[in-house]
Amino acid sequence: MRLPLLALLAKEPAHGYELKQALEVTFGSAYPSPNIGQIYVTLGRLEKDGFVRAVDVEQSNRPNKKVYYLTAAGREALEAWVDEPTEGPRVRDEFFMKLVLAPLTGIADRMALVNRQRRHYLSLMRDLGELAERTDPGNRVARLLIEGAMLHLQADLDWLERCQEDLT
């Protein structure tokens, strides 16, 4: 979550709660919003690394709040992040590990593993479909995020079918 927070702070200084809200508004219900604790922990680390700095802002009848802003080092880190090509998805699939290794131990049979996993993927797909229906059609970011998740899931299912053909 470090870089997304830097990106939001590059737009304008903000306190932790505002960053949480900005993430929610941008990505919609499709994105599991980080809890405020995670955000403060990340901000603390970014501050320690010199990428952000905080100023205390007095509030009339509440405790002071910390407003964070981006440092020059933070902007550099952000630019480097934007400039570098992003890794493609790697096949690092926990299910595949199970599929290959579990039968060696005799605790599971591959056919049953594949079948259960297929139905699980279809349940996930059904949830995504329902999520898509509930999502504001105007929120293009959220819609694309869901569509991306669906396409990945389809690829996982296709791969599962290949595994079933070749390994069972």
Binding site: M1, R2, L3, P4, F27, S29, A30, Y31, P32, S33, M111, N115, R118, R119, Y121, L122, S123, L124, M125, R126, D127, L128, G129, E130, L131, L145, I146, E147, G148, A149, M150, L153, Q154, L157, D158, E161, R162, Q164, E165, T168
Partner: protein, 252 residues
């Protein structure tokens, strides 16, 4: 004892086998399949290419003869019917969407869709209303006067679905009904399938598309002509406070 409330299954197939005999070598395409589908159920059939999915649903619709086994549709023995017997049964009870559409090329889209309803005994007025409704649901109202040859593959496939649903069949059999569709057109098809399913339509559908399969109550997986899995698609148990968004993972 309570009264028997068991309803007649829409499909009951037992020990279905299909061995193609082309030239020398026999090709066993379906090797002993049992399937029971209750009224109102939506069953998705999945499996790799060549696993026998089309052969299986073609046999269920009487479009391919079986080598052995029994097929009962709506309580009536069907596998022993003659070709014309099957034709009557299909007209009354089965809507079929083929993997490669099979539209009547020298008739308009509208006539293609109305024909099964008319053959099934619907009044011309009713057939027209049903056609208008289905084509509108599939975003095709403007193509009603066109000939199938003037349509894209995806459009033809949607017309084929409209045709199959025209006389509100007891059973909808569909072979890859979204195989040629882009994601927007797939969405129209999904919506219509969901709608007719909620209205009680029994559906057995072959698909590779996870979005289509995920709408089913049950998934049947074929491998080498045999069923290797047949079970409901469960509702996920999410932890309290978790959202469906937990599925979506953004790294960074």
């Amino acid at each position: 004892m309570w009264p028997a409330v068991t309803s007649t299954p829409v499909i009951r197939a037992t020990g279905l086998v299909k061995i193609y005999q082309t030239g020398g070598l026999p090709v066993p395409a379906v090797r002993g399949v049992d399937l029971v589908v209750e009224p109102g159920e939506f069953v998705a059939i999945m499996g790799p290419s060549g696993s026998g999915k089309s052969t299986f649903v073609h046999m269920l619709g009487g479009l391919e003869t079986r080598t052995s086994g029994e097929i009962w549709l709506d309580g009536k023995r069907a596998d022993t019917l003659s070709e014309s017997g099957w034709a009557v049964l299909r007209r009354q009870k089965v809507g079929f969407v083929f993997q490669f559409f099979n539209l009547v090329t020298n008739m308009t889209v509208a006539d293609n869709v109305e024909l099964p309803a008319l053959l099934g005994g619907a009044s011309p007025k009713h057939a027209r209303e049903r056609r208008e409704y289905l084509l509108a649901e599939l975003g095709l109202e403007e193509r009603a006067g066109a000939a199938p040859g003037q349509l894209s593959g995806g459009e033809q496939q949607r017309v084929a679905l409209a045709r199959a649903l025209a006389n509100q069949p007891r059973l909808l059999l569909a072979d890859e009904p979204t195989g040629n569709l882009d994601s927007r057109n797939t969405r129209d098809v999904l919506k219509l399938l969901g709608k007719v399913h909620r209205q009680g339509q029994t559906i057995v559908l072959v698909t590779h598309d996870a979005r289509v399969a995920s709408m089913a109550d049950r998934v049947v997986s074929l491998l080498d002509g045999q069923i290797v899995d047949d079970a409901p698609i469960a509702r996920l148990q999410r932890r309290p406070g978790g959202t469906a968004g937990d599925i979506v993972e953004l790294h960074g």
